[in-house]
């Protein structure tokens, strides 16, 4: 190849391996530092999204997490397909890419030696959307907590209902809340952690009915999307609208907890609940 032909060849520097860019303040942070800080921006304290495995490792005692109901996976009750093809194909691709069976992973674990049932959503799985498999895993987790008389902790990260599953997806909101209602009637604690983002049908169901609703700095929390609201009220919304801080200010979040302190925070409040 002539030397001048190389001009068109893209520079192949894997910059994302060297640098992380904060999604909030756009600061460049060395990837190593970023990962060491558990994806918390050292400049603006934005808590970036974690995979469910990373989250589980942060919250639980080492090697105590045991997944349950991994056999429950996504379904395609409507045989849905749209402009970009079939939902089943898309979901299968996501399963292969992420190694997850659904947008939530549930299991039993210890948090500072307190046995709990834990569910952690993963935004990489179709935007953390609430599908029938997600709803079923959460229902079974709540039922497991009820049976074993353990607290239930759910870490939410979701854009909302999964429209590819239509009405079946909508019904998962009622289904999960019904299971949580039973936990509460039995006097068992349910703690919801609303991480970035928790919106739509997930915020309007299990995410918002925790005995404690916790969040992380600057997480997006809301029901309707910003664009929809702006179109409805024909006004521009302030930047801090629908942040964790805004949601706390309005009385729907108990506490915003830094990622590095979340495990200790959970253990402490669970002891108040008698665990």
């Amino acid at each position: 190849m002539a030397w001048f032909a190389k001009v068109d060849a893209p520079l192949r520097v894997a910059s994302d391996k060297i640098w992380a860019v904060c999604p909030s303040c756009k600061a460049y942070v060395p990837r190593e530092d970023w990962n060491k800080a558990n994806k918390v921006c050292p400049r603006c304290n934005f808590h970036d999204r974690l995979s469910c495995r990373e989250r589980i490792a942060l919250l639980t005692d080492k090697d105590t997490f045991k997944e349950i109901n991994a056999q429950v996976s996504f379904n395609d009750p409507l045989k849905f397909s749209d402009l970009s093809g079939s939902y089943a194909e898309k979901a299968k691709g996501t399963v292969a890419k992420t190694g997850l069976g659904e947008s939530v992973v549930t299991g039993t674990a210890d948090i500072d030696k307190i046995p709990v049932v834990l569910g952690v959503m993963d935004f990489r799985f179709l935007g953390g959307s609430l599908g029938s498999g997600t709803g079923e895993r959460i229902l079974l987790a709540a039922e497991a907590a009820l049976k074993a008389k353990k607290p239930l902790i759910l870490v939410c990260a979701s854009g909302g209902a999964r429209m590819h599953e239509g009405i079946i997806s909508l019904m998962q909101m009622a289904k999960t809340c019904a299971a949580i209602a039973r936990l509460k009637e039995a006097g068992l604690p349910y703690i919801s952690i609303l991480s970035d983002p928790t919106t739509g049908g997930v915020s309007a169901s299990y995410a918002m009915v925790g005995d404690l609703n916790l969040s992380e700095p600057k997480a997006l929390i809301g029901f309707a999307g910003r664009r929809v609201i702006e179109q409805t009220i024909k006004q521009k919304l302030p930047d801090d609208f629908q942040t964790a801080e805004y949601t706390l200010e309005h009385g729907f979040i108990d506490s915003i907890v830094d990622r590095s302190e979340m495990k200790a925070f959970l253990a402490n409040v669970l002891r108040y609940a008698g665990f």
Binding site: K184, S205, F223, I229, T232, Q242
Partner: protein, 282 residues
Amino acid sequence: MKKSVTKPAAKKSAVEKKPALNAWDIVQIARHPERPLITDYVKLMCSDFVELHGDRAFGDDKGMLGGFATIGGERVMLIGQRKGATTEEKIAHNFGMASPEGYRKALRLMKLAEKFGIPVVSLVDTPGAYPGADAEARGQAEAIARNLQEMSVLKTPVIVVITGEGGSGGALGIAVGDSVMMLENSVYSVISPEGCASILWRDGKMAPAAAEALQITAASLKKLGIADVVIPEPKGGAHTDKPAAVELVKKAILAQIKELKKLPLPELVERRYAKFSAIGRF
């Protein structure tokens, strides 16, 4: 190759039936301006109605109507979104899009029904919960979520009728019932066909295709096990003969009340849990 020449005109003339309505046609009927609204049901179906206002916390949402009602001699708590008939009314009632205080009012009245031992009749007709900045500030998500939780353990029969539009979480917020019935030309969906089309087809005009794919009609939802009963409408739709349409709904409601009252309350609540927990279990 052969397929293009199989049975031409013969088959066509043999089936001289009018083509069935497609999902998008039914969406139009469900949104028809003359379709009976909750106020028509109150007028035509209830021999007595005592409207009750307010959520005891912030205000009284005019997008949500509620009160004691007598239907065919049965005393019930009636709740439902109020869309409004005229332009002024529509604006006053926010087109049937309830705010958090609407869902909280509905819950307050349902708890009252539980206390007084009367059934809840919920008439659902809404494009969705109000997506406004003030609704967000006052916790639209929390208000709906709490209703889902509380309705699932409410110790009194809950009869839900989707009369027109069952718009997503805004509908579900008053629709966790022992019996979920849908009028023949009503729709119930996780997202509006227009919304779905603009996201998944990147074109709001593809709404008819989205409506079809989402399977939102009463007939589809009966097949999916979401609608327990499909209530027939007069020929052409409920708007062609409001009294007849309301009468059919009244009959269906009374039949459900009669059945559900036979069940002891613990069994009723257990059955409701079994019903919702089985949805989406494959």
